[in-house]
Amino acid sequence: VPDDPAPSLRPPDAIMAISPGPAPTDVFDVAVIGGGVNGTGVARDLSLRGLRVVVFERNDLAFGASGNSSGMIHGGVRYLSQSPHVTETSCRDSGYIQHIAPHLLFRMPFLMPIKTGLKGRIAIELIDAYFRAYDDYQPLKRGEPHCRLDASDMSRLEPGLTGSLLGGITFDEWGIDGARLCTLNALDAIEHGARVHTHTTVESVTRAPPAPDGDPVRYVVEGRDLLTQEVVRAAAHVVVNATGAWSPVTASLGGLPQARVRVRPGKGIHVVLDRRLTNYGILSEAIDGRQIFLEPWQNVSILGTTDDDYYGDLDDVRATSEEVRYLVQGVARVFPSVRTARAIGTYAGVRPTLYAYGKPEDALSREHEIVDHAADGSPGVYSMIGGKLASYRIFSQELSDLTSQKDFDLSTPCATHTRPLPGGERVPDALELAQKHGITPVAARRVVYRHGARALRILERTARHPSEKDVTCPCEPVLEAEVRHVVRHELARTVHDVARRTRLGYGACGGMRCAARCGQIVAEERGLPPHEAFALARDFVERQATTRVVAMGPEQARQEALTLAHLRASMGIER
């Protein structure tokens, strides 16, 4: 917005120019900035209440913390002693999410090994009692009560556990694919009238010209599509800043004081291992006494997680080899074979933790908070600060309740906990689908996991276009029909977008066998020339290489060299 020296949300007298260029043609009730789980959650909630919503996402849905979490909807067991109501709402919300997206959740029991010795003998009693209290909340999320196990039970359940164990405690949690959760929320919002712009960065939020006829439009959000460089403009009555760790940056675009939406960004990394090493999640202690874990997640295992203050580039968060060592070393103390397991990648995200000074990272509150910028002279502008994946729905409801009453005088109740997410109406039988459509049962199970009842639509495509039964990504596996589906119906615009929605290219081969083909399909669906296809593929593979390299042993180095060599060969690039 070169002509506008100070786009801002400050009171009208502070604004010099008002929305330069042609007047916005698209008018909405609410503009949501941020396509993470909170942004898409709010967009869905408000759309279900009948409001017209537009979403701006600078990168892709679930690009930040939402898509890079530990992949759990947990019940908030650690808040039990200070604030049991948080645990209760967490568990209740976990139950709701199971209800609205049954296909997307998988049970993930954890083992907490306890070492022998006096400390252990005391610890096991305390932990046992603690989880007895947690058991009261488990029925809310269909969780099993905890168990106290002796050493022989532990080694029978997970023979890879070592050390002299006194025994252990189990507790029950649920795993989820955070990127799918965001996608489904966005999808449902779209199906209820919302518009979602991905890869579109907001460049300014300005106050709209006052309208004498009582036009409810108060703000103009202007964004730029980073893939096409097109300007996207939307007018709205309410603006929601749901940009997680980016929140202060977003606030400053509207001229709001950054200090009002201060977060303390905490970087968390995960290491991905090539297969399910265990049947249970396993807790362990890192060198500094923090709790870390190894969990079987979809078809891989995940080591997590770190929590460190982060001051770097939010658009390019990467794990480092020190962080990888920290996790491997910590988990290896109870599960040594993690050292020789094959790491196939890492991922990193930044938590938008509520700001506090003088506390270590782990002691920070995981609570969430709504900031009403009416106090800053910008009525109808809200920021969503803090929160976690498991509480996205209740957080979204809180904000939606507030704005629908205050700004729209609307009393439609929230429906996000009762109406299923797209595909969540029922979970089809994967084996039956495999037989009916002549695909492998594994491919059928995976597509049902990701899409629930909508898997039927994808597979029906293959009846009309049999060539779309081709397996594009053999590791996951992902069929060509699904790749086309997510480009057409789920806002995927790059190979990486397809990967987030389908896990294509996240397997052991690192995209060697699928990236080029996927790039081609995406380019074809978007009407781009063939060389763009390879640019999309190369961007993905190179970005993935940077995330894998830090966890790379000799074997992975060879695989990486092969992946890049193959891709270069198939694309005709020398290096």
Partner: protein, 405 residues
């Protein structure tokens, strides 16, 4: 046990074979140590376009079953690609796409995207529906196994019947047929099928690990035999100056020793297995590493220096070991992993009478033609040296063309 050879070439991939054949043709006595499959057998059959290759390189490429020159081939990623050459068994679409129609045979095989090819390959391509699969499992068997089924002349006849009837149904003239990887890139077989069908038939490139690699091995074996190169199977473990004679090398294998006046190392890079990435904390987060050292090594113990960017390799790391993010892909497009290798001069000279070729050489692009070029260059340079030293060969051979700068 020990043998006498003027030149020992270690590595039987593109670079090693090129070096051995070129040196043998220049009059040297050559022994090639074949340590089994490396990156060359993962070749997809396409040659990247590059600088115009020399006559020697062209000659050796021809012996290895490769056609050089501008051509267009179909890939398994569903694309028609302009290339600088290809495995002889692949159908060159370039002359056909000028004014003819090429039928792309639809087939439910992994990695065969006939409709994508037709969409991206230009107006000369049309889809053709023909049954190529006879058994249910043929939707999934590997390319090489599928190709092996066409060893049976009856099966090839059956296929040609299907293709002919598809051509009749096509409703427009079709001048050539493009098939999925199905014939093992066997030119003779493709010619036989073309004869049966009545128009030229040929294949697309393969996937890594498929028929092009196997075809390369077969063509290489024939070329080595006809050039008179002795082939020894086994893994070389070290190259060292011979005891009592600093002008000769001893190449140690697991079960024998070879004596050489000159040695060409062509053992491959990271993919081929000639170079190893071996961080001192290979087991991720074990105890402190015993010593800090460069994270790469040659799999053969030889008096060469590893380097990248023209400089010897340093110890990149901390007391906890290597920090891969600072040395590996892809901080920049030319990060260390891509460039590390043996330091040598233009002719591949790494030490007196010791040459390196192919992906083992530092700072070289990893392509088929570059590997062959560096192999031929090293082979010729080694031959010049040994022929001069032994004086055992006619002068005409010793005057083999000098390598290009």
């Amino acid at each position: 046990m020990s043998g006498v050879a003027a030149i020992v070439v270690v590595g039987a991939g593109v670079a090693g074979s090129g070096a051995a054949i070129a040196a043998a043709q220049a009059g040297a006595r050559v022994t090639l140590v074949d340590g089994a499959a490396g990156a060359s057998t993962l070749w997809t059959g396409a040659i990247d376009a590059g600088a115009d290759p020399s006559d020697e390189v062209r000659a050796v490429a021809g012996r290895l079953g490769v056609v050089l020159g501008p051509s267009a081939i179909a890939t398994t990623t569903g694309l028609v690609r302009r290339v600088g050459g290809h495995e002889a068994g692949i159908l060159d679409l370039l002359p056909l796409l000028q004014d003819r129609t090429v039928g792309v045979v639809r087939c439910e095989r992994p990695g065969w995207h006939a409709s994508a090819l037709v969409r991206t390959g230009g107006s000369g391509l049309v889809l053709l529906d023909a049954t190529m699969l006879r058994l249910v499992d043929e939707r999934l068997v590997p390319d090489a196994d599928f190709a092996a089924r066409h060893d049976d002349p009856d099966r090839l006849g059956w296929l040609s019947d299907r293709l002919r009837s598809a051509l009749q149904r096509a409703g427009r003239p079709v001048h050539a047929l493009l098939l999925p990887p199905s014939l093992g890139l066997d030119r003779a077989r493709a010619d036989e099928l073309s004869r049966l069908v009545g128009i030229p038939c040929g294949e697309a490139t393969g996937v890594p690990g498929g028929p092009p690699g196997l075809r390369f091995e077969r063509a290489r074996n024939r070329a080595l035999a006809s050039a008179g190169v002795a082939v020894v199977a086994g893994r070389a473990t070290s190259v060292a100056t011979a005891a009592g004679n600093p002008d000769r090398w001893t190449v140690r294998l697991e079960d024998r020793e070879l004596d050489a006046e000159a040695v060409v190392l062509a053992t491959g890079g990271l993919v081929g297995g000639g170079l190893e990435y071996q961080p001192s904390e290979a087991m991720l987060a074990a105890a402190l590493p015993p010593t800090a050292r460069p994270a790469f090594r040659c799999t053969i113990d030889a008096p060469v220096r590893l380097g990248a960017h023209g400089r010897p390799l340093e110890v990149p790391g901390t007391i906890f070991g290597v920090a891969p993010e600072s040395i590996a892909w892809p901080l920049s497009r030319d990060a260390l992993m891509d460039r590390v290798g043996v330091l040598c001069d233009e002719a591949g000279h790494a030490a007196p009478r010791l040459y390196a070729a192919g992906e083992l050489v530092a700072d070289t692009p990893r392509t088929w033609l570059r590997a062959l070029e560096s192999g031929v260059r090293a082979g010729l340079a080694a031959a010049r040296e040994t022929v001069k030293v032994t004086g055992a060969h006619p002068a005409s051979h010793a005057q083999a063309p000098a390598s290009r700068p």
